[in-house]
């Protein structure tokens, strides 16, 4: 059944989009990630204009992250003070990101910027995750205990000024890296249409040394806030949020996520991470090929202002 998308201005197969939402929802439920990094490229591959894919995906991430955020809120798994400082950075990053998005769109380079950002970030994150999970699997096979990080271990971040105490996380750290992480995540959300959890979670763990029981909750809190802001910003600055498309994706996504979460419980943590890393690298490779391979059609059209 075909359905017309009013903002994307094209007709798509309802079941295809619903199925994509479901499949990505399944994977995100299984791995506990937002899934934006899979959904946005998939939408682009289906023929949705990249700008609409990014703007719309932001609103879908709000939906897929909000119930998790509420659950962590109930369990007191959110460091609100840390979340607020991250949010300051996030607002700066997403406003700057929207501005850059508009600029590159006007220059006709937004598709390239989106693809390059994806290849870069997915390449780095996928490779790191792969290495880490291979090591973990190897350790498990040799019967060695996993390496436990010592708390209070100092790295360069701890030498920075403007220190703040975050009681819930039990850390005493400069506000500069916290805001910095927020800025990066805000930029990624605005330009790539992702929640940024895949950058935020490792950054909180490895740079800020936030204990794992508040990492996911705080990250989800930040993701919901930033993608909500990015949705409003894309809607006002670029008019690229397609509500009909978002609703189909949300419906598919929430259902898929429930089955994914059940499937995920049957797999071991390091296997899950290796699988996720493989998927991240596959999407990265697919996008890299489109950047490098000689295209069949060198020309492209951008339809601008209609004289009505």
């Amino acid at each position: 059944m075909q359905i017309y998308l009013p903002i994307a201005e094209l007709s798509v197969n309802l079941f295809l989009i619903f199925g994509m939402g479901g499949a990505v929802g399944f994977l995100s439920g299984m791995f506990g990630v937002g899934g934006g990094f899979l959904m946005t490229p998939l939408l682009i591959f289906t023929g949705i204009p990249p700008a609409v894919a990014v703007g719309t995906e932001a609103s879908q991430i709000v939906a897929s992250s909000v119930s998790g955020a509420i659950a962590h809120w109930r369990r007191r798994g959110i460091d609100l003070r840390l979340g607020m400082v991250l949010l300051i950075g996030g607002v700066i990053g997403s406003v700057a990101g929207i501005w850059l998005f508009r600029l590159f769109r006007a220059l006709g380079q937004i598709d390239l910027v989106i693809s390059l950002s994806y290849v870069t970030f997915l390449g780095i994150v996928g490779a790191l995750m792969m290495l880490e999970s291979i090591r973990a699997i190897a350790r498990a096979q040799h019967g060695k205990p996993p390496i436990i990080r010592r708390r209070g271990q100092h790295i360069w971040v701890h030498g920075l000024p403007f220190k703040m105490r975050f009681k819930v996380s039990g850390i005493y750290v400069s506000a500069i890296p916290v805001i910095g992480i927020g800025v990066v995540v805000g930029l990624l959300a605005a330009i790539m249409g992702v929640g940024g959890g895949f950058v935020m979670v490792p950054a909180l763990i490895y740079i800020l040394r936030v204990p794992t029981n508040v990492v996911i909750g705080t990250s989800l809190f930040q993701v919901v806030m930033i993608t909500a802001l990015v949705t409003v910003l894309h809607a006002t600055a670029n008019q690229t949020v397609d509500m009909i498309l978002a609703m189909i994706l949300m419906a598919g996504g929430v259902i898929g996520a429930q089955f994914g979460a059940r499937a995920g419980q049957k797999l071991k943590g390091e296997q899950l991470r290796a699988l996720l890393a493989l998927m991240v690298l596959a999407v990265c490779a697919r996008l890299a090929v489109t950047l490098v391979a000689t295209p069949d059609e060198l020309f492209s059209l951008t339809l601008e202002r209609v004289h009505r």
Binding site: V62, V66, V232, M243, F299, S300, L303
Partner: protein, 268 residues
């Protein structure tokens, strides 16, 4: 609008034929041919199930006693045009191993939709000068470009124009069909104007040109209005005119559906 069912279509065609015939009946003092046309619908609504539409155009060629006898049959050329729009054509080139949009050409007034339908190949109907004067073929379509550097190749010759025409034809937004007009009798003709699902909304105009012996004898125009309707209309208007409210509604909707799903699928 979807494809009408066969019995409805027959009723529609009959109604149009009657309309055309009655319109043709009152006698005037016309010395030359007169062209009377009608379209199957002058309003197309784009709803959520829109997958494209087809406008059927009918026409008759009216003659009276004083009209000069034509040794050869008439020819019809229909030009259906959507609202014009700015189109940027970009060309990718390799830059440090990556394909990047480097050169571009902007066109200020390209039609967003253009269908040129005729009963036989255009070059057989009239000579290139006439086709060019009335822009009756894609080859003669005038695309206005902003003034560029005099030394640079002109927008006409640097390959961008051909690319624009080719890509618009691939999307079925530009159509040139030399068998798109069908004569049902020597004076009665019919044409189908196909509108793909991705047509831009706006005011469309179908100009019907009557040719005899390579000369333009008469012209007639019909307006067709393409509008979004229902939810699609609401979404489009809200997104364009109240973008802040639209963004907030999108967020509230997302929060609600996420929260609702969390409750429905709660596992404890």
């Amino acid at each position: 609008m979807s494809e009408p069912r066969p019995h409805r279509r027959h009723a529609l065609i009959a109604a149009i034929l009657i309309a055309v015939a009655t319109a043709a009946a009152p006698g005037g003092q016309a010395k030359a041919e007169r062209l009377i046309t009608a379209v199957s619908s002058d309003k197309v609504s784009i709803k959520s199930t829109f997958t494209g539409a087809e406008i059927v155009l009918f026409g008759t060629i009216e003659r009276d006693a004083q009209t000069v006898a034509r040794p050869r049959a008439y020819d019809i050329v229909i030009v259906a045009r959507g609202p014009s729009q700015e189109i940027v054509t970009r060309r990718k080139s390799r830059l440090v191993g990556i394909w990047v949009n480097l050169e571009s050409q902007r066109y200020l007034n390209a039609p967003s939709y253009l269908a040129i339908l005729s009963n036989r190949p255009l070059t057989e109907i009239a000579d290139p000068l006439v086709l060019s004067r009335f822009q009756l073929s894609l080859a003669h379509l005038i695309l206005r470009a902003p003034r560029t550097d005099a030394a640079a190749p002109t927008p006409e010759t640097n390959g961008f124009r051909e690319a624009l025409l080719r890509l618009m034809r691939q999307r079925a937004h530009y159509i040139e069909d030399p068998s798109g007009v069908e004569f049902l009798s020597p004076a009665l003709f019919k044409a189908r104007i196909p509108l793909p699902a991705s047509v831009p909304v706006g005011e469309y105009r179908a100009d019907v040109h009557l040719f005899g012996d390579g000369a333009l004898l008469a012209r007639s125009s019909k307006q067709i209005s393409i509008r979004k309707a229902g939810v699609e209309q609401l979404v489009t208007v809200l997104a364009a005119e109240m973008p802040l409210l639209y963004g907030l509604v999108a967020v509230v909707l997302a929060i609600f559906s996420g929260w609702f799903a969390g409750i429905v699928f709660r596992r404890d």
